[in-house]
Symmetry: C2
Subunit: 193 residues, 2 copies
């Protein structure tokens, strides 16, 4: 099962894709953060997020999209934009017939760290460990998107609960087009550094 995790936001929208199969370790397929300029109008920002999310959905072909459930009790100055970004994401998934599941931040933290009140550093560290990544995913929105996807796999019972040691598995069922897409994302991230 392939899960696209989305940590919605207008300024930074984290996208992370992981694959999981029963008895196999969870594998990262792709991760990135979409940014839209704070000075642009709302429609243009939502269009930028929607286009990026649709591109990911069409290329990585997730079986399910896991989105962070936003609460209006959160930071008031950003919560409306976050809800709107989550909305265009759910819309893009619905257009493709991809189910959308919501997980609360505390569910996600509990899934990857064992505590619903873990801080961002703990979540990032556990995401790196679970996915056996050479580097910690940065910024926090990228790690949060991966954590959301892992959370969904584990709650769904599709993936082994903790990674098993061993040589890196193959890319699994990714098509050539999907692998090219992932490589393109990686290349664009390197050129941005």
């Amino acid at each position: 099962m392939r899960v696209l995790g989305i940590d919605p936001g207008l300024t930074r929208c984290g996208l992370g894709v992981v694959d999981g199969l029963p008895g196999r370790r969870v594998q990262m397929v792709a991760v990135d953060v979409i940014r839209t300029p704070a000075g642009s109008d709302l429609g243009a920002r939502l269009l930028g997020i929607s286009d990026a999310v649709e591109g990911w959905m069409d290329q990585v072909r997730p079986d399910v999209v896991a989105v962070e459930r936003v609460f209006s009790q959160n930071n008031v100055s950003t919560v409306m934009g976050t809800a709107q970004a989550a909305g265009v994401t759910a819309l893009a998934a619905a257009r493709r017939g991809i189910p959308v599941v919501m997980h609360t931040p505390s569910e996600v933290k509990a899934a990857v760290t064992g505590s619903g009140r873990a801080d961002k550093a703990q979540v990032t560290a556990m995401v790196q460990r679970i996915l056996q990544l050479a580097e910690a995913p940065r910024p926090a929105d990228a790690a949060d998107a991966l954590a959301l996807a892992i959370c969904h796999l584990w709650r769904d019972g599709t993936a082994a609960v903790m990674p098993v040691r061993g040589p890196n598995a193959s890319k699994g069922g990714a098509t050539a087009a999907q692998q090219a897409w992932v490589a393109a994302i990686e290349a664009s991230k390197k050129s941005r550094r």
Copy 2:
């Protein structure tokens, strides 16, 4: 100038179109309320709203879309869905290059009634008077959408501030396709009653 006013919401989303030209009275082109079932999942509901709003945009060809600005201080149980509905609306407009303007509820109330704290009955009564409608627009979401559109025209300075007496003007610059669309909306509303 043709304005599409949108009172966003998942359960009821009000849509109202008015035409305004300097020195001419404001005219209603179309009004309706889109409903999505509370039991459906978020993506399906947003898709229903998006499809309806896109249909309106393509048929009535508004010059500008006026959306109610949602505040997170509002009713906590509905505010997230309202923000998401507003988001897919702004996205649909951005895809078509149609500018989106936001007006607060108090701006809208002040524009049509003179008081930012007017109640729904006052807003509905003034919308009926300004647009010289035979019946009051129902439900309140329909009246609110029309009020939003009127508010934008008046703040923009495009329309005369109050209606002038006289025979009903023509349909203005509406094309045959647009008039057919409006007739279709009217027919569907009658059949639903």
